[in-house]
């Protein structure tokens, strides 16, 4: 995956990996795998296969025991492979625990290959699903999940903590065309400016970042506090330090906040579709294919954006949306049905511009759910419901950002081209007061343009949870 970040980052990250985990350069040999399966036959076979791959294997036949191993040795494993059907604990539950507490990549496996079970694996955040009987070839490549996750984490750290001053400078170089990286760069730019006097700290971080740090669990409450803080500060001013101060959580470090903020931004980027190439979060939630989206399934803020971006959004539509935006209500989404295949969201292939339908709200809410799922907050999809509230307040943020964006015209082509979006924004913003009180929610714009806004390379202002805008219901 190309995140537009210079290869140097990766090099340094893998170097850091070496020192951090003691994994030698014969990687993936020595990968530490924990296998959980109550079937002794399978367990033995897997163990042998993994050993043949030169991995370091630990086996257990009970989920509770597995959790104990993991908790006792927080950084002792790189990846977990677990069976789905186990007598003492459902494999998915174990998956949730591991995701929340240890944030390790988890592979599910089962003799059951029915679609809904596999889907469950996906929605619960498994990074892969293997069908039994498992073959050697399937196991040989599991290391990719570890690298992917680590690479993603390191990128976050690089952006926010700048392991070294050099990296910070590198990232300060002229933004690339890829919106993702440029936004990140600019974001980092601002951060690094504020950190000029913290260079020492940066170096310390460099050292410490190579050491294993206790992971912070971003529980629902914690994330909500985070989101509230960001909201309070406003996107412009939402820097880790201030967020940290606002949150006032003992034991939480600026680094924790910074990396979480980065994840948050990545999530937002994904919403905008720019970060299609960024798939490292490892937990793309997808709802069941037959999710009750209703006829308006195509309708959602994201689709609007897609349409807008693709140039199919006529001005009048925008106006309608705008009007609708005014009337929109802050809603609670019904949540728990993450329905949309994220790929679909960002495919921009959906030509249906049926945003005039009131059902859109429901869809949007649903979409919100699915989009929210993308946030790597280690939350269960059900828990995301609580986020919607706070999420909605972000709508205003995005508006602000958009309005401030200076944009050229021909934006309506692709998401990836900031200019077009700017135009839409301008159009939309035209008759709309941009003083969006946080309570309001600028559904339309937020939803119609999140991609545009987010995709814009110049969106340095978008620090905050623009995604919320997407969550705002669109009432027309």
């Amino acid at each position: 995956m190309d995140l537009g970040v210079k290869p140097v980052s990766f090099t340094s990250s893998s170097a850091s990996w070496k020192s951090a985990d003691g994994v030698s350069d014969q990687f993936p040999a020595g990968l530490r795998v924990l296998v959980v399966d109550d079937d002794p036959t399978c367990l033995r076979i897997l163990e042998k296969m993994l050993k043949n791959c030169l991995y370091e294997v630990t086996t257990c036949n009970r989920a509770e025991v597995a959790l104990k191993f993991l908790r006792d040795n927080k950084n002792g494993y790189d990846i977990v492979i677990s069976d789905v059907h186990m007598p003492d604990m459902d494999g998915f539950k174990l998956l949730e625990h591991v995701g929340l507490e240890m944030d390790l990549p988890v592979i599910m496996m089962s003799a059951d290959d029915s679609k809904n079970v596999v889907m469950k694996g996906v929605t619960h955040g498994a990074c892969d699903y293997l069908i039994k009987p498992v073959r050697m070839e399937a196991l040989k490549n599991i290391w990719q999940h570890v690298v992917r996750k680590k690479k993603h984490e390191w990128k976050e750290k690089d952006f926010e903590q700048s392991g070294s001053v050099d990296e910070v400078e590198r990232q300060q170089k002229p933004p690339e065309d890829v919106d993702y990286s440029s936004s990140a760069n600019e974001g980092n730019w601002k951060n690094s400016k504020k950190r000029k006097d913290e260079e020492d700290e940066a170096e310390e971080r460099d050292d410490s970042s190579t050491l294993k740090k206790p992971r912070v669990v971003w529980s629902v409450e914690l994330h909500q506090q985070f989101v509230t803080a960001v909201n309070q500060l406003g996107i412009d001013k939402a820097v880790p330090k201030k967020i940290l101060e606002l949150m006032n959580v003992p034991g939480l470090t600026r680094e924790n906040v910074a990396s979480h903020l980065q994840k948050y931004r990545l999530y937002l980027r994904r919403l905008s579709g720019v970060s299609q190439h960024q798939n490292g979060l490892g937990s793309s939630f997808m709802g069941p294919p037959d999710a009750p989206f209703g006829p308006m399934s195509s309708l959602s803020g994201v689709d609007l954006q897609a349409l807008a971006a693709s140039g199919q959004l006529p001005p009048q539509s925008l106006a309608t949306i705008q009007a609708a935006a005014l009337g929109r209500a802050t809603t609670k989404s019904a949540i728990p049905v993450p329905l949309v295949d994220q790929r679909n969201i960002f495919s921009f292939e959906n030509p249906k511009l049926r945003f005039v339908d009131g059902q859109q709200q429901q869809n949007i809410n649903s979409k919100q759910v699915s989009l929210l799922h993308g946030i790597p907050t280690n939350m269960d999809s059900k828990q995301l419901a609580t986020l919607h509230q706070s999420a909605q307040s972000f709508g205003s943020m995005s508006m602000h950002v958009h309005s401030q964006a200076s944009q050229s015209n021909s934006l309506l082509t692709q998401m990836v081209q900031p200019p077009s979006r700017a135009q839409i924004l301008n159009e939309i913003n035209g008759s709309h007061a941009l003083n969006l009180p946080s309570s309001a929610g600028q559904p339309v714009l937020s939803q119609a343009v999140p991609n545009a806004v987010l995709g814009r390379s110049g969106i340095e202002n978008v620090r905050g949870p623009v995604f919320t805008s997407v969550s705002s219901p669109l009432q027309l």
């Binding site: 109550d38 002794p40 036959t41 399978c42 033995r44 076979i45 003799a111 039994k132 009987p133």
Partner: protein, 172 residues
């Protein structure tokens, strides 16, 4: 006997098992996994399979003997059996398990009972074949069963003649 002749006979016999559907490609995978550091790997895994399966078959018998048949429980057991039999390559057992699960879905108690009988039969068959295939590695006594003895002698002779016991590739 010539080494290649011995090897050919061995291969033929194993191939027979594959062709009759008792074993599938997964079993070959197991054979490939065996090496000097784990010379008894296949035997070990097969033994685990026997133990586990017998326990499951027992549980299934008890479960289906109840007044109120708990199909969910039965399904869980069968699923387990399906998993282990597929991991070891016991193809026919696995296939019966698939049919068995469907019957559970339909909550067909009678059908399940019949299926249980069938799965037991298939299990015993594959058990005999596997034991024949493996026993001789460690048990030097001469076996009456022509198949068993044949295989045993084949292996011994191949090794004695300086050859390697052929590993089978995918037949499926």
């Amino acid at each position: 006997m010539e080494v290649d002749q011995l090897q050919r006979s061995f291969v033929e016999y194993s191939r027979l098992l594959f062709h009759e559907g008792f074993l599938d490609g997964q079993f070959s995978q197991l054979q490939l996994l065996q090496d000097e550091s784990n010379p008894d790997f296949v035997l070990e895994v097969v033994s685990l399979f026997f133990e586990d399966s017998e326990r499951l078959l027992n549980d299934l018998t008890i479960a289906l003997d109840q007044q109120n048949v708990e199909f969910k429980k039965i399904d869980a057991h069968v699923h387990q059996l399906k998993g282990s039999s597929s991991s070891i390559g016991a193809q026919r057992v696995k296939n019966v398990c698939i049919a068995f699960r469907n019957l559970c879905d339909e909550q067909n108690a009678e059908g399940c009972l019949r299926c249980l009988q069938q799965v037991k039969q298939e299990y015993l068959l594959v058990k005999t074949k596997l034991e024949a295939l493996l026993r001789e590695r460690h048990d030097k006594r001469v076996v009456h069963d022509l198949n068993c003895g044949f295989i045993f002698q084949l292996e011994q002779q191949i090794v004695a003649a300086g050859g390697a016991i052929p590993m089978l590739n995918e037949f499926c």
